[in-house]
Symmetry: C2
Subunit: 259 residues, 2 copies
Amino acid sequence: MCELLGMSANTPTDICFSFSGLMQRGGKTGPHSDGWGIAFYEGAGLREFRDPYPSYNSEIAKLVRNYPIKSDIVISHIRQANAGRVCLENTHPFTRELWGRNWTFAHNGQLKGIKKYPLNHYLPVGTTDSEYAFCWMMGKIRERFPKPPARPVTVQRFIYDLAEEMQGLGVFNLLLTDSKYLYCYCSTKLSWITRKAPFDQAVLKDDSVTVDFKEVTTDKDIVSVIATDPLTTNEDWHVMQPGEYIVFRKGEVDFRQEA
Amino acid sequence: MCELLGMSANTPTDICFSFSGLMQRGGKTGPHSDGWGIAFYEGAGLREFRDPYPSYNSEIAKLVRNYPIKSDIVISHIRQANAGRVCLENTHPFTRELWGRNWTFAHNGQLKGIKKYPLNHYLPVGTTDSEYAFCWMMGKIRERFPKPPARPVTVQRFIYDLAEEMQGLGVFNLLLTDSKYLYCYCSTKLSWITRKAPFDQAVLKDDSVTVDFKEVTTDKDIVSVIATDPLTTNEDWHVMQPGEYIVFRKGEVDFRQEA
């Protein structure tokens, strides 16, 4: 299984601490050595780093861990390949433009028969099930909403329906964003935590690192982190149920659909 | 004026040497301090680095200069903003997907009245003239060729016509790629060089660096580099004429349209 990591914040926040834990799972404390990628949003702008090599000794991953890129939304993925060979075009996250927004997608799981689904506007560059599913979802969203609808909840519900359909094909743990919302669907495994004042210390599970959030935040900061497995040992993470769906906006739960 | 840098090679090649010269122009030997970006192709796969800060002291640019990423095609841009504020979404190069290929675009110049052109499939995320022009071109290509035509020269000619139309709006020095071809249109300023055996030394103009290509190449390597201004002092660069158009494939000129 691949590892997912997402972040949504109400103020530009760096992900160094959480990423530092995640990247250890890329070939060191975990078996996910078939590449990794991360997408950072600064407003509408998108910055991506991607490597078809293990994350724990990647030069680029080192940069990402040490250089505090402040962003509003982050999606990261480390890969254990099951469908599609190990190469750059098969490395998550994937991105496409719709409504003049950068959409980013990362997934873990397998989807049986996905390649029989018809595609229209968006075509995959690589050969993974995941990118194919992303193109299908984006095509569906575009077909149904040529323009963003007045009420964001309409899209939120529609994406839930698409995720449920994908879930019917196998395993579909999903992180998706349009630069404003972070859409998370739990098929088998996904946990999250919201951090806000009063901030406290956190201790990473995969790396001997402790951070004191009091020192790096203000009282107004609200940050949610979503990961395949809890990344810290001393905090209470919410473990999502299979079929549960949460949309984050500016660090907080904006929409929730129970399983 | 912004600075452009492109590379097309018949074997995965790193751009460290040329990039090292270019990045000095980002706020040190040149005035282009409003961000920079670079796109690397490994086959169909795309890797991008982008920063809305000056390149000469950027952490990410340092990584790109020191870490030899081998690629088939590279497009890089350092920016001196004239239209659109300085932020990540206004930082070249821009990318979109068509035909299941990643297309990348970088431009220097201004285009008067471009925003009156109608867009269909692709919408800009930022506010630059350049990204708008890219979206317009991509929409035109998609409309005319829903699928890639049998003869690549058909697309090559079509892109020339689009570039000529853009050129009518002002200044349009262009680097564009679909992961297979590198399309270069000279509006005012663009030079290129093809390096092949027997390889020799090259001396950078903007940085006190010399490279001996004999030591880092094989006899079969063919690499073309395209830049706003020649990057080396001891080689014969071809200076393109305004209105001239060249398409490179695997390091060599594949199509050429004189001014």
